[in-house]
């Protein structure tokens, strides 16, 4: 990065000076320069963070995003020296300019040179951290109250009464009634637990809060509420936030400055407004092009083909080259240097010297994703009905604990060549419906009709025949393949179980044909691979190939992309869309993301608490939702287009408030 220092430094100074106009004389509260972090390993050092510059200004939210494994967490934890030893900081500087430390460290607190004790103080009093999946790290056997109070006591000298008072104050601050302090973690919802973690982070009145994926795994409605609270608290208490997420569209609502990382490097950093209007670096544009939108025409998305590089490599040139639509020969030797973008606002830097803002995508890039089935609802006319669920019901439990009705009378029809999306939050009963239709679980009531004839799939004799018609693709590609078997074994078994009906012997030729159908090419490379050797997207392709081996007419896809990286989701959805056209599959697409349902499905069913609350053609339903719950769902979904011209977050939040009351009073 030494060659980079000049333009970068100039640009950073520029950012600072414009900032001074707004926030007074203060410079950044946390300043990271040229940070290098590596993980020692026997197979060569994993250089997870490479020459990263980042400045966090008081009262601001800096959003850090990028695909899984690009080094976001490593950067954040490394900057406060929280990483465990095989990780090493091998270069750069990190300086903290906290108000409270000003007299003792006039030039700023040098984190990389700090002692153990100094670091402890820094981490407890100055920089608080909400860890990735923190909500699952609460101690299950202690009351929430005790955990918050322990946290306060560990860092502040206070009497018992005061500590108690502070705990109440904190918990109210994050929007939980103080009565819930007596609860154990398992008695709280995921969203509440996350709020408790935020309350604990704020308990020592920090100047900087690092939040690593604070809302990942939460439903959109809860996510929005928590983000609104964080922004309100930030405005009131005046801390700064380093917000880490893989979801760029979320950052567009909460962040002031967006930092996009790829393969351990910052490839673009810009004021949020500039990213909303499209971004500059091809990777940023790829990320933006990966999100299905809720508004505007149902356009074909671009996505990002391929997978991120191995971080052990030290090859020169642009690491994005193999996936970049704009790539040219010069990219192989170009220096990765953040430089101000010509004609853009101050503080907008990009590492790509070739692509200017607004430059249209080369035609070849658009052709990669052919618009298979998008926005072309064939209607139910002339497409025969295959599978219907009529008044499906499922109750769990019974006995002393009482009955929980997960599904309360749901009916749906699946036609050949059509995609029906089932949209709802976690716990709404979506997956249960998939399992009932797949025959994995016995239903408590209702009927399943295959070709108009009633069938009992979970009955012994029927199950295998039923499976040759109706197949399911699972949510988690890391769990749905047996780690001890090769790809070949998985496909071979699926072929041989159904070989009598399909007439296809489990031969290598047939296995290769399946692999080719899901675009795992060259097939030789994948045939004998073990699941752990494959990326998430590749595993999901194997799962789909396995489902296709039976040559089914119905495919039940339960959140097939929610565990995958944003950039890969699109490829998988496009693959499924292509297969549905090719084999005239009837598809049930289950998702929590209504925008992807709009992109992918012909008909949408919205589900809440075990019931379908609204159903209709995809486009019409998204544009004119009539049920308050659907409206709330749409208002809570991050959508870059909604806020293109507005202040971060707030517009959506007001809409949300109005609607939340309606739903609550229902």
């Amino acid at each position: 990065m030494s060659t980079a220092s000049d333009p970068t430094a100039a640009a950073l100074t520029e950012v600072r000076s414009t900032d001074q106009l707004r926030t007074g004389p203060a410079g950044p509260v946390l300043e990271i320069r040229g940070l290098d972090i590596a993980y020692r390993s026997d197979l060569g050092d994993v250089r997870a963070v490479r020459g990263v510059d980042l400045a966090l200004h008081p009262g601001k939210v800096v959003g850090l995003c990028g695909e899984s494994g690009c080094g976001k967490s490593t950067l954040a934890y490394g900057a406060v020296r929280l990483l465990r030893p095989p990780a090493i900081v091998t270069g750069g500087s990190v300086v903290y300019h906290g108000k409270r430390l000003e007299d003792r460290h006039p030039g700023g607190f040098d984190v990389l040179a700090a002692s153990d004790a100094g670091l402890k103080e820094l981490r407890w009093r100055e920089i608080a951290i909400v860890f990735q999946s923190a909500m699952n790290s609460l101690n299950p056997v202690l009351r929430v109250e005790d955990q918050i109070m322990d946290g306060i006591r560990a860092h502040m000298k206070m009497g018992h009464e005061q500590v108690h008072e502070r705990a109440r104050e904190l918990i109210e601050m994050v929007g939980i009634e103080p009565e819930r302090l007596r609860a154990y973690p398992h008695e709280l919802s995921g969203g509440m637990r996350q709020r408790v973690m935020i309350a604990m982070a704020l308990s020592v009145d920090p100047e900087v809060v690092i939040m690593d994926e604070p809302t990942t795994g939460l439903d959109v409605i809860v996510q929005k509420e928590i983000l609104r609270e964080v922004l309100e608290l930030k405005a009131r208490l005046g801390f700064s936030v380093l917000f880490i997420t893989h979801d760029l569209s979320l950052l567009l609502e909460v962040a002031d400055q967006v930092v996009v990382m790829y393969a351990g490097q910052v490839v673009e950093t810009a004021p949020t407004i500039e990213v909303r209007t499209g971004g500059t670096h091809p990777y940023t544009r790829g990320l933006l092009g990966s999100f299905p939108r809720l508004r505007g025409p149902r356009v074909q998305l671009t996505g990002i083909p391929g997978a991120p590089p191995d971080l052990r490599s030290t090859a020169a040139g642009c690491p994005f080259q193999p996936r970049c639509a704009f790539a040219r020969d010069a990219c192989a030797t170009v220096d990765m240097v953040l430089a101000p973008v010509a004609g853009a606002a101050a503080g907008h830097l990009s590492a790509c010297p070739f692509v200017a803002p607004g430059e249209p995508l080369p035609a070849s890039a658009i052709a990669i994703n052919s618009p298979t089935g998008v926005g072309s609802d064939p209607g139910t006319e002339g497409s025969e009905l295959v599978l219907s669920g009529v008044d499906l019901r499922k109750d769990y439990g019974g006995g002393r604990r009482g009955v929980v009705s997960a599904v309360k009378g749901v009916s749906l029809d699946l036609h050949r060549g059509r995609v029906v999306a089932l949209v709802g939050e976690s716990g709404s009963g979506k997956s249960t419906i998939a399992k009932l239709l797949a025959g994995q679980e016995r239903r408590s009531g209702g009927h399943i009709l295959l070709d108009g004839k009633e069938i009992e799939p979970s009955r012994r004799g029927e199950f295998r025949r039923y499976k040759s018609e109706v197949q399911m693709v699972f949510q988690d590609p890391f769990a749905s393949l047996n780690p001890l078997h090769t790809v070949r074994y998985h496909l071979q078994r699926a072929l041989s179980v159904h070989s009598v009906r399909t007439g296809r012997k489990p031969t290598v030729t047939e296995i290769d044909r399946l692999l080719d159908q899901v675009k795992l090419n060259p097939v030789e490379k994948f045939r004998d691979a073990y699941p752990h050797e494959l990326s998430g997207g590749q595993r999901q392709r194997v799962s789909i190939a396995r489902a296709l081996a039976a040559e089914p007419r119905v495919l039940l896809a339960d959140e097939p992309v929610s565990m995958l990286d944003v950039s890969i989701r699109l490829e998988i959805l496009d693959l499924i869309a292509e297969l549905r056209t090719k084999f005239r599959l009837a598809i049930l697409y289950i998702t929590h993301d209504i925008a992807s349902a709009r992109y992918f499905a012909d008909e949408i069913l919205v589900m809440n608490r075990g019931e379908i609350v609204e159903r209709g053609p995809a486009e019409a339903l998204v544009q004119n939702p009539t049920h308050p719950y659907t409206q709330l769902l749409i208002a809570s979904s991050p959508d870059p287009d909604t806020f293109a011209s507005e202040v971060p977050g707030q517009a959506a939040m007001f809409v949300r408030d109005g609607l939340a009351k309606e739903v609550a009073s229902e």
Partner: protein
């Protein structure tokens, strides 16, 4: 094309001709990955197994030889581990007796583990009434007081041979493993890859044998090692109490004679210390193997305990992230 059809393909030939080699290479690779504890444990155990096989042939004296002497002889150049009070060579008795102790341990281990796998996987996978019945049964067997029960049973037939001991120990020793395997099966049963195998249409037996069992190898191995340990210790205890065929040498039988021959009162420490230590080493080797298996299946256990050398110093896991700006120093 024509040549290819005439001569066997080279890769195939290599796999046929070379499979013992490949197998050996696989074993070696696995050995290298084992934690130190497991390596030590396995080495000791293999030594004992070698003694069990070749020991009787190596014994310098007939273990049953008696001389006219009536006091135990301390270790000397003729009798390295000393003699018992009738002049029998302790070393020879141990070399002969290890076989029966090791056999009781291993055979009980195999039989009891098969039982626990059958019961555990059946209960865990089938669920419902099958599970409740089998679990109730295992719990009943589990709470039976094993040693008193064995003593009562064997007291009827005090000098029965090791077959009876093996049968009884196996019949009483499986529930512990079955419980663990049942729990693991229940958690695996709802894992996606098992549901996916059902989704493919695989029959239950294939799911059990090809999907569930291979994922429990570590647990089954641990349960086997634990059962062997239990069988060895219990059989030694029973023999010590005289509840076995005393004419067949085993480590426990030596201890029985030491006790009935008042070795402690006579100050003949070699009579009980050497066989006692043999039992202790055998037990320790099994405990070490189990710890090793634990570490193998839980790499975090291994990583978090160890220090790491980076640059010039050793780092504890709790240390703040090392800052080593000089790359040359790092690679020194």
């Amino acid at each position: 094309m024509s040549t290819a059809t005439l001569t066997p393909s080279p890769t195939r030939a290599a796999t046929i001709g070379g499979w013992p080699l490949a197998f050996l290479r696989g074993v070696l690779a696995t050995w290298r990955r084992l934690p130190l504890k497991a390596k030590i444990g396995i080495t000791i155990l293999v030594l004992f197994i070698l003694v069990a096989i070749f020991g009787p042939a190596l014994a310098p004296y007939n273990p049953n030889t008696t001389t006219t002497q009536s006091v135990p002889e301390a270790p000397n150049i003729h009798h390295l581990f000393g003699t018992d009070s009738s002049g029998g060579d302790i070393l020879s008795q141990m070399l002969t007796g290890t076989r029966s102790t090791v056999i009781v341990g291993l055979v009980t281990g195999v039989v009891a583990t098969i039982l626990s796998v059958l019961v555990g996987i059946a209960a865990g996978y089938l669920g419902g009434y099958a599970d409740e019945g089998l679990s109730l049964f295992s719990n009943i067997v589990l709470v039976l007081p094993v040693l008193p029960l064995l003593i009562v049973i064997l007291a009827y037939e005090p000098h029965s041979g090791s077959t009876v001991t093996i049968a009884l120990l196996s019949a009483l020793g499986w529930p512990w493993g079955a419980r663990v395997i049942r729990a693991q099966t229940m958690s695996l049963r709802n894992r996606d890859f098992v549901l996916a195998a059902r989704e493919v249409g695989e029959p239950a037996w294939r799911i059990i044998v090809f999907e569930l069992m291979p994922n429990q190898i570590g647990l089954i191995a641990a349960s086997f090692v634990g059962t062997v340990l239990y069988a060895i210790l219990t059989s030694v205890a029973l023999a010590f109490l005289g509840l076995t065929n005393l004419s067949v040498w085993s480590l426990g039988v030596i201890l029985y004679w030491a006790q009935s021959g008042s070795a402690v009162e006579l100050g003949a420490w070699w009579w009980y210390v050497f066989p006692g230590m043999a039992v202790a080493f055998l037990g320790m080797s099994l405990v070490l193997i189990n710890f090793g298996l634990d570490e193998l299946s839980n790499p975090r256990l291994r990583a978090s305990r160890s220090m790491r050398k980076l640059g010039r110093r050793n780092w504890r896991p709790a240390d703040p992230t090392p800052v080593i700006l000089d790359y040359a120093e790092l690679n020194r």
